[in-house]
């Protein structure tokens, strides 16, 4: 990662981000924008001149967190320009605009132009956020980031209209970024020093530009020269075939998928208007595991969807066990105004949702422990994110957290680590390991180019 110091420092900016990877990516791209324009990146407590809160509205809890974050940011920085953007800005635009402590409310489709809005404000120009250019892809490659890995946005919006989901209303309809633009973004991100690229968007499996589908784009990304590895952010489990499975034999593509199941009940999936059924999901998992036995699957589950019976919930528990997800992001269903599920009968009592949520989390913890145990004795290529005292930590190729003893270790570098045990508990469970013997020399940092073609995840 380049750490060029911009000498023409004039003002400071702080960012707060809630929600998904896409939001995180968009913040990172804005950080790069502001950095290149000479702004200092500071914390909320450091009296920034500008505060940007990138909100989320996917659940009631996200709304609550976003509201709290906006209030805190504004209260601490009464003189600052407070910009609220993200999905909540789309969903509650007028309400947010009426609040005195917010200077600007910028919808998602104009988010990439926030710097020009702020610059116009400081130069005394009156510019309404609605007059900013409407472009969901005009983010430049991330250079300065709040994270070790950098996302590349390939797609925005969703046309699925799942009955629980507000996203089509706040992110708009599905649009795909041109192939050349994506590849250029990947190239520049790699040039900027990132070792891991996360392919992101709202519904990336539905990428379609001309004849190029998601799998085709992914194949092109993997052929971009350079030492880097590729991850896929969360994916809807529909619409990919054998060629997608085959792509994971490429050494750059990491063997982990966050495949959103949402429910293990066919009936609930129909009410959710999902585009797949449990049988299709099972087939996908089996295809991957037949070829890559250690492949790591994580998922999202919604509990307490309207009409979810005990039997249907049990089917979800059965699916979580059967598919062996090493992490389940569990959401208690919350009503989103304007969605079809808002008008459904048989809304589930909050106490029942809490109990169901606890059961899924418990099962998820058990799965994780079993999965991590199964990896002991195997090796992982760990991209180091943190070094503290004499320990280094980061994520292995399977997207499992790994900690190992650090000697002459550098951040943002990849090391081969032999896994020796597990530590921590629950969601904080992690693998511990040691540098692999055959890697343990003065140049133990691994070049991704030397990785063999992977046939299993060992």
């Amino acid at each position: 990662m380049k750490n060029e110091v911009n000498t023409s420092i004039k003002k400071s900016v702080a960012f707060k981000t809630l929600g998904c990877r896409l939001n995180q990516y968009e913040t990172d791209a804005l950080v790069t924008n502001f950095d290149q324009a000479g702004y200092r990146l500071v914390n909320l407590d450091d009296s920034p001149d500008v505060v940007v809160v990138n909100t989320c509205t996917v659940t009631n809890q996200s709304d609550q967190k976003s509201r709290t974050m906006i209030s805190q940011a504004a209260r601490k920085n009464k003189q600052a320009v407070v910009v609220v953007t993200g999905c909540m800005a789309n969903n509650f635009k007028e309400k947010l605009e009426s609040q005195d402590h917010i200077t600007f409310v910028v919808e998602n489709n104009r988010k990439s132009a926030i710097l020009s809005l702020v610059e116009a404000h400081f130069s005394g120009e009156l510019l309404h956020p609605d007059k900013l250019p409407n472009d969901v892809f005009s983010y430049q490659p991330v250079q300065k980031s709040l994270h070790t890995r950098s996302a590349v946005k390939i797609q925005d919006g969703c046309d699925n209209f799942c009955t629980f989901c507000i996203i089509p209303m706040v992110r708009g309809r599905a649009v795909s970024r041109p192939v050349a633009d994506v590849l250029e973004n990947v190239r520049k991100t790699v040039e900027n020093g990132f070792k891991e690229i996360v392919i992101t968007g709202v519904n990336i499996g539905r990428y379609e530009e001309g004849e190029t589908r998601f799998e085709d784009l992914l194949a092109k990304i993997l052929e971009v020269p350079g030492d880097f590895r590729v991850r896929i952010s969360s994916l809807e489990p529909d619409g990919f075939g054998d060629s997608f499975v085959h792509l994971f034999s490429h050494p750059k593509l990491m063997p982990h998928l966050h495949l959103c199941l949402q429910s293990g009940s066919e009936m609930t999936l129909l009410r959710m208007r999902r585009m797949y059924d449990v049988a299709q999901f099972r087939k996908t998992i089996q295809q991957f595991r037949a070829r890559y036995p250690d492949f790591n699957f994580t998922t999202d589950i919604i509990v307490g969807f309207p009409g979810e019976t005990e039997e249907e919930f049990q089917q979800t528990l059965d699916a979580v066990s059967e598919f062996g997800f090493s992490h389940v992001h569990t959401f208690k269903y919350s009503v989103r105004n304007g969605t079809r599920a808002e008008r459904m009968e048989h809304q589930v009592d909050e106490k029942i949702k809490n109990a169901r949520s606890a059961l899924v989390r418990q099962l998820s913890d058990e799965n994780r422990y079993r999965y991590y145990q199964s990896l002991i004795g195997k090796t992982q290529e760990v991209l180091v994110e943190k070094i503290f005292k004499n320990r280094a930590s980061g994520y292995g190729d399977l997207y499992v957290p790994v900690e190992f003893q650090a000697r002459e270790i550098q951040k943002n570098s990849v090391y081969t680590v032999r896994l020796t045990g597990v530590a921590g508990e629950g969601e904080k469970l992690f693998l511990v390991g040691e540098l692999s013997n055959n890697q343990f020399n003065s140049s133990c940092q691994k070049s991704l180019r030397t990785l063999p073609v992977r046939h299993s995840c060992q």
């Binding site: 132009a113 020009s116 120009e125 510019l127 609605d130 007059k131 900013l132 250019p133 409407n134 472009d135 046309d159 209209f161 009955t163 309809r173 066919e266 009936m267 129909l270 009410r271 208007r273 585009m275 059924d277 049988a279 299709q280 304007g338 079809r340 008008r343 459904m344």
Partner: protein
């Protein structure tokens, strides 16, 4: 004038972008031509010709001018039809459909889309053998398919409570249309469409398209799978 002509004049450029957006907004509004009453509760809403290409079977989102809410409806008209139509059943004490029902000719309706992958393209339509299974207003995407590809080899199985809900059945070839009525004896089959399905045999390569409420789809998929049809042959669109 091209966008690049304004390079170097960011204010002008952003205003041009805004105007482009306004044009898009205008294009999404349609003047209502007619509301045609089909039963006491159900009506079709006729708009000018679609300003977008669509695949027979896809849906659109429909809003009423001045109202922030919108709903999704399958397109009821064919791809070459002079009018864009949807089929609507008024929900008793509902919020949206009673308002939609009260619209008059000339009122503005906001349309976005098309959306969805439920549909048949021209090549598949000419080659395949199709069974369409619909409950209630779930017949809408199939009318669009049949009007779009009149030579299609299809059977349409329509499940309703009473025979008066056989919306515009005169449009379909009587030899290809099966009405299943659960609450009056006037259907071709008396009982639920799932009861009819259980008795049927279909050619092995048949493609099944199902549209209707989730209970019907759940049961129908199970019946078809028990008959040996693969899930890949069964395409579903859930209605509520």
């Amino acid at each position: 004038m091209e966008k690049n002509d304004y390079a170097g004049y960011p204010g002008v450029q952003s205003r041009m972008e805004f105007l482009k957006d306004e044009k898009k907004i205008d294009e999404s509004f349609y003047k209502l031509i007619e509301i045609k009453q089909l039963t006491d509760e159900t009506f079709s809403l006729k708009l000018p010709k679609a300003r977008f290409p669509f695949k027979a079977g896809q849906h659109i989102s429909v809003g009423i001018h001045g109202n922030y809410q919108s709903r999704e409806y399958s397109i009821y008209s064919g791809i070459h039809d002079e009018n864009l139509e949807i089929l609507v059943k008024e929900v008793e004490n509902g919020y949206f459909t009673p308002r939609l029902h009260k619209l008059k000719a000339g009122d503005l309706v906001e349309v976005h889309g098309p959306f969805g992958r439920f549909g048949i393209g021209p090549i598949a339509a000419e080659k395949g053998k199709f069974v369409f299974i619909a409950s209630g207003t779930g017949i809408a995407p199939f009318r669009s398919m049949i009007r779009s590809y009149p030579k299609m080899d299809y059977t349409l199985i329509h499940g309703v409570r009473s025979s008066k809900e056989a919306y515009q059945r005169e449009e379909y070839d009587p030899a290809r249309y099966v009405l299943c009525t659960s609450q009056d004896p006037k259907g071709d089959f008396q009982g639920r469409l799932t009861g009819y399905l259980k008795k049927c045999t279909f050619a092995p390569a048949t493609q099944f398209y199902l549209c209707g409420n989730s209970n019907m789809i759940f049961d129908a998929v199970e019946i078809l799978q028990k008959k040996g049809f693969k899930r890949e042959q069964i395409h579903c669109e859930v209605y509520f």
